[in-house]
């Protein structure tokens, strides 16, 4: 079930009404109801995928019980490793096996040997990387002793499958979300209004910004050979906003939905294109994933409490893993590597966001944006050959951008939406008065929400478009 479908717009109010009809004191009943709703939400894509979700839940649940039960460190570690291996094996089979098999086959053929490695025609289950990482994070937290073992299975299953953040994050931490399932959640006016405000803004980002930009971006990136440098440049300028609108839009809707129900999910995006260094960018972009990698990959590798060379190595490994997490394609591998290298260079040069103010800060923001946007070309390209064509075309084959099928109108609307989002984000970033007006003044808040809904109905792209991050 997509957030931007009529089905969800009927599903969510129904769930809200029924949820708040159950007395707040009956916490178990409420959790059970949310668990059933979450599985129903997930099974709308493909009922069979729910078995994988359940498997991952059971494996991590039992592993955590084992970790909690044994005193011996070796046995605790065995439980943790079993949980990691089983979950990552499922993830590998569905997400990476075919990629690895085709690459091995290619390598064998290149060396002059003939050998077929069988491939499976498996569809990637929606959100598998998100819930697997969330469940693994819990196992590791229990092993480290930073979170208590959850013995109540429905509560734990709800933690893994909570529908607002199930398929595209934020990847929640057990320390934040699990305790909330044990608290009473009475209906709260301020929370509900904040949730609705976030949801509407998320829908605006997705339907007006992302999907409008997507019309142009897809027409260029899916037919790279037919276009010139001018078209590549425009598409490369639009894609950073498409992916921001798409993913941040989803996160805002998810956080908003949870907030209406009384839950607080972690912040996932903090105006990333105002970052003035790469480090700053990763503290603002997909925060739940970058902190996950920091806590469970970078720090266990030694973090920055090691020699400089080892520190650079740790950074690079973390970002390569992060790239591969996004998908089984060399483009993602290179994208992660590029970010890792840029961060190492930044660290080596001692570039730190605290150093800059005024014009210098602005220049650094611009440079960071340009480099991040260039890296996004890698991310969006269907393969490395397309990336090469685009990169060369940007410098050698300039021309008038393509507008034939999509029209100037789409471009104007896309840039108009970008302008609106930039102004809105600027107002929040620099605490302009107008930003607080829409949250503090009741009538203005209603006007802001209703204006956004009207703008979505006029300018939104409707057609049940998938969110980009669902594929990860």
């Amino acid at each position: 079930m997509l957030f931007n479908s009529i089905t969800f717009l009927l599903f969510f109010p129904t769930i809200c009404v029924l949820y708040f009809c159950i007395p707040a004191t009956r916490i178990q009943a409420r959790n059970l109801f949310l668990l059933l709703a979450s599985y129903y939400f997930y099974m709308n894509w493909e009922p069979a995928y729910a078995l994988l979700l359940l498997t991952s839940t059971i494996v991590t649940y039992i592993a955590a019980l084992g970790i909690g039960r044994f005193d011996e460190k070796r046995k605790k570690r065995l439980c943790l490793v079993s949980s990691l291996v089983l979950n990552l094996a499922i993830l590998f089979l569905f997400k990476y096996y075919n990629f690895l098999a085709s690459n091995i086959e290619w390598a064998i053929r290149a060396s002059g040997l003939g050998m077929d490695i069988p491939e499976f025609s498996l569809l990637l289950p929606v959100g598998i990387s998100f819930y697997t990482f969330q469940a693994l994070g819990y196992s590791i937290d229990v092993y480290r002793g930073t979170t208590k073992v959850e013995r109540d299975f429905p509560t734990y299953a709800l933690f893994v499958s909570f529908f607002p953040q199930l398929v595209a994050g934020p990847i929640e931490r057990s320390t934040n979300l699990l305790p909330q399932f044990k608290q009473r959640h009475s209906f709260n006016y301020e929370g509900a209004m904040a949730g609705i405000r976030l949801m509407v803004w998320g829908y605006f980002l997705k339907l007006v910004l992302a999907d409008r930009c997507g019309l142009y971006v897809d027409s260029i990136f899916n037919h790279v050979d037919e276009h010139n440098g001018g078209s590549y440049l425009v598409a490369s300028l639009l894609f950073p906003f498409q992916i921001y609108g798409d993913f941040a839009g989803y996160s805002f809707i998810a956080i908003g939905v949870a907030r209406v129900l009384g839950f607080r999910l972690m912040e996932n995006f903090r105006r990333p294109y105002f970052a003035c260094t790469f480090g700053d960018f990763w503290r603002r972009w997909h925060i739940s994933l970058s902190t996950w990698f920091k806590d469970y990959v970078y720090i266990p590798l030694g973090g920055n409490r090691v020699s400089s060379i080892r520190n650079y190595f740790n950074l690079l490994v973390t970002f390569i893993v992060s790239g591969i997490w996004h998908g089984a394609n060399w483009t993602f591998f290179c994208w992660g590597t590029l970010h890792g290298v840029l961060l190492c260079i930044e660290k080596g040069l001692g570039i730190n966001k605290q150093k800059y103010t005024g014009v210098k800060k602005l220049c650094h923001c611009a440079v960071t944006f340009v480099l991040v946007s260039y890296a996004w070309i890698l991310f969006r390209s269907n393969n490395l050959s397309d990336f090469h064509t685009i990169s060369m075309g940007l410098f050698t084959n300039m021309g008038i951008p393509y507008t034939q099928d999509v029209g100037w109108g789409v471009l104007c609307a896309s840039f108009g939406a970008i302008l609106l989002v930039v102004v809105k984000d600027l107002s929040v970033e620099y605490n302009w008065k107008i930003a607080s007006l829409t949250t503090n003044h009741q009538i203005l808040q209603y006007a802001y929400i209703s204006f956004l809904i009207a703008a979505i109905s006029l300018l939104g792209v409707f057609g049940n478009n998938q969110f980009i991050y669902f594929q990860f």
Binding site: G409, S450, A454, S457, L459
Partner: protein, 301 residues
């Protein structure tokens, strides 16, 4: 909870105001737009009165010169072809609007395989006619299929979702200035197209499209309108059996077909074409004179 319900009611009331006022502004823009389709759709819905109506996609819009056909037949002619409307749903909406206030003597439908094919765009471009939602029950039936019916009922602004940008740019860019009786000539291309062959491909028939094709034919027959299918020339060497399914359907309903897609007059003549499937003004004028003579012979055998 009371406070929240009050807030929701306020939001709905405010949205309703924004939607209605915005809808009125968009209606004004739509009625004054000189983009490529809005003036034609306005004429189709409100004032069409010609004897011969030519319907179809961009291949109709840019291929049939009404003045030439009018001179040959001695009947008034209007070109109601709408760019991009390559599905029977859009054509059915056009016909429903026409038949609501006028009964033409002849309807010529320029057909393509996408009119029936399962794979081609289904409800695309039916949104062009959404500003006139609520004026014609038969036309509105298409929106039940596309899933937009209740959204159009609910929101005035949503009816302009497809056309908003064209309606705004249409206030400045007057694309309609060269049009004559609905015919909007294609300009001479800078380079003539390369030759490419279209392969015959089997396609599955979409049941809903087939149903609407039948409705289209029946609507014409019930009102005593002479209906004829036409297939205008393509520069590419289209296989001769490319349109077999469409022709079979026409024959089942006794609808004559004027087929020029493999006509020797145009094959290997890039000088008539803007691209592989569209004639430019010079080619359209030549084709219209041939088509008019053949249509005349069909009407008076």
């Amino acid at each position: 909870m009371k406070r929240f319900i009050y807030a929701l009611l306020c939001i709905i009331a405010m949205w309703w105001c924004f939607d209605r006022v915005g809808g009125l502004c968009m209606w004004w823009l739509n009625q004054h737009s000189q983009d490529t389709t809005s003036p034609k759709i306005k004429h189709i819905v409100e004032g069409i009165s010609e004897d011969v109506i030519l319907m179809g996609t961009s291949r109709c819009n840019g291929h049939y010169v009404p003045k030439i056909i009018q001179d040959t037949l001695g009947l008034s002619v209007y070109n109601a072809g709408v760019d991009g409307s390559d599905n029977i749903f859009a054509q059915y909406i056009v016909l429903s609007h026409i038949l609501k206030h006028h009964t033409p003597r002849i309807v010529v439908l320029e057909v393509g395989n996408s009119f029936l094919s399962e794979e081609e765009s289904a409800y695309m471009t039916t949104g062009y006619f959404a500003p006139y939602f609520g004026l014609n029950e038969k036309a509105d039936s298409v929106y039940h299929l596309s899933g937009d019916y209740w959204l159009y009922r609910l929101s005035y602004l949503y009816r302009y979702n497809t056309k908003v940008l064209a309606n705004i740019t249409g206030q400045i860019r007057h694309c309609w200035d060269n049009a004559e009786q609905g015919y909007n000539p294609n300009p001479k291309p800078l380079h003539f197209p390369n030759l490419s062959r279209w392969q015959t491909e089997d396609f599955e028939i979409n049941d809903e499209k087939k149903d609407y094709m039948c409705r289209f034919i029946r609507s014409c027959h019930e009102r005593g309108v002479f209906l004829c299918f036409s297939i205008s020339p393509s520069y590419s060497l289209v296989d001769s059996d490319y349109y077999t399914i469409l022709k079979g359907m026409a024959s089942a309903y006794n609808v004559p077909v004027l087929d020029y897609h493999t006509s020797g007059l145009y094959l290997n003549h890039p000088e008539y074409f803007k691209d592989a499937s569209h004639l430019w003004d010079k080619g359209a004028k030549l084709y219209s004179s041939v088509f008019a003579s053949d249509l005349k012979r069909l009407l008076n055998p």
